[in-house]
């Protein structure tokens, strides 16, 4: 059972309180109706599924209820960081240097949540 830091609850909580919600930073096109077949299939089904750093969504469903993003190493299952929905994709190179790993990414006050970020 993983221990996951919720960026809203500001502490680590047991995995039982969370639900994984798949790859993060997928872009729902706007207007979606004009998206090409291939692009739409990419959005709907095609995934990075990386062996290594994975950007993924979680929901603290049995906690604060919020969706948020995380960077996790899919080999060690260790979390590098978590960040609120709508915040930009963190710079992985910084996360990987040990010094930077200690500090959390800057938290903006109540951002517009949005998983659409590249």
């Amino acid at each position: 059972m993983l221990l996951i830091k919720c960026p809203y609850c500001e502490e680590e909580r047991p995995e039982l309180e969370f639900r994984n919600a798949g790859e993060a930073h997928l872009v729902r096109a706007n207007p979606i109706i004009e998206q090409s077949d291939d692009d739409f299939a990419g959005f709907l089904y095609f995934r990075q599924n990386p062996k290594g750093l994975q950007f993924e969504r979680w929901r603290h469903i049995h906690g604060c209820g919020r969706f948020f993003n995380a960077v996790r190493d899919s080999v060690s299952d260790k979390f590098l960081t978590v960040y609120k929905a709508g915040e930009p994709r963190p710079d992985v190179s910084k996360l990987l240097s040990p010094a930077a790993a200690e500090t959390e990414p800057p938290v903006t006050k109540r951002p517009r949540a949005k998983k659409v970020q590249v």
Binding site: C9, R13, P14, E17, H62, G63, C64, G65, R66, R110
Partner: protein, 184 residues
């Protein structure tokens, strides 16, 4: 004309007797409960109407008289009014943007009290319930066995467990079973 007979309330649980001395698992009295949702900029107006400063820190609560506000999420509070003091009416008067939904009948409260109360809850709740991590007044949505609960520490050895009514028989039975173990 048909005479209208006033409908009476019926609690979903019939309390059973738990014969362990050190810790008790009992039903809380009926209470008025509101799921309150609001953004930061309306919190002060709502606090004023409620007579409680809505807590803004995760896993905390605030209470005043029979009313308590439990932080459940960054825009969500569970208001419990044990005193039936008109909390819904008070909120209805607030004009600022918010959502207040009456969930008095949705939830059931169960009180776990006595020596080892934390261990009883830890029979099915995976959170750290040490006083350091979960001090008196702490509140959080979490899980108990296979259900979701709201857990509120009302004393060093006292917790209030809130769950949805159809899960209350499970929660009650679970806590009793765990209490038997803790009392060994």
């Amino acid at each position: 004309m048909v005479e209208i007979v006033q409908a009476t309330r019926r609690h979903p649980l019939q309390a059973g007797q738990l014969d362990v001395a050190s810790v008790s698992v009992t039903l809380a009295d009926n209470a008025t409960r509101v799921s309150l949702r609001a953004k930061d900029n309306t919190v002060s107006a709502l606090s004023k109407a409620l007579g409680i400063t809505l807590p803004m820190k995760p896993k905390t609560s605030a209470s005043n008289g029979g009313r308590a506000a439990l932080w459940l999420g960054p825009d969500e509070w569970l208001i419990i009014d044990d005193a039936d003091s008109g909390v819904i009416a008070d909120l209805a008067k607030v004009k600022v943007l918010h959502s207040a939904v009456d969930i008095s009948h949705r939830n059931v409260g169960i009180i776990v009290a006595g020596k080892g109360a934390a261990a009883v809850v830890n029979g099915g709740c995976p959170q750290d319930l040490s006083l350091k991590a979960f001090p008196v007044g702490a509140a959080s949505r979490t899980v108990l066995g296979k259900i979701e609960i709201v857990l509120w520490r009302t004393g060093e050895d006292a917790f209030r467990v809130e769950c949805w009514r159809s899960f209350s028989n499970y929660a009650y039975a679970f806590l009793q079973e765990s209490a038997r173990d803790v009392a060994i």
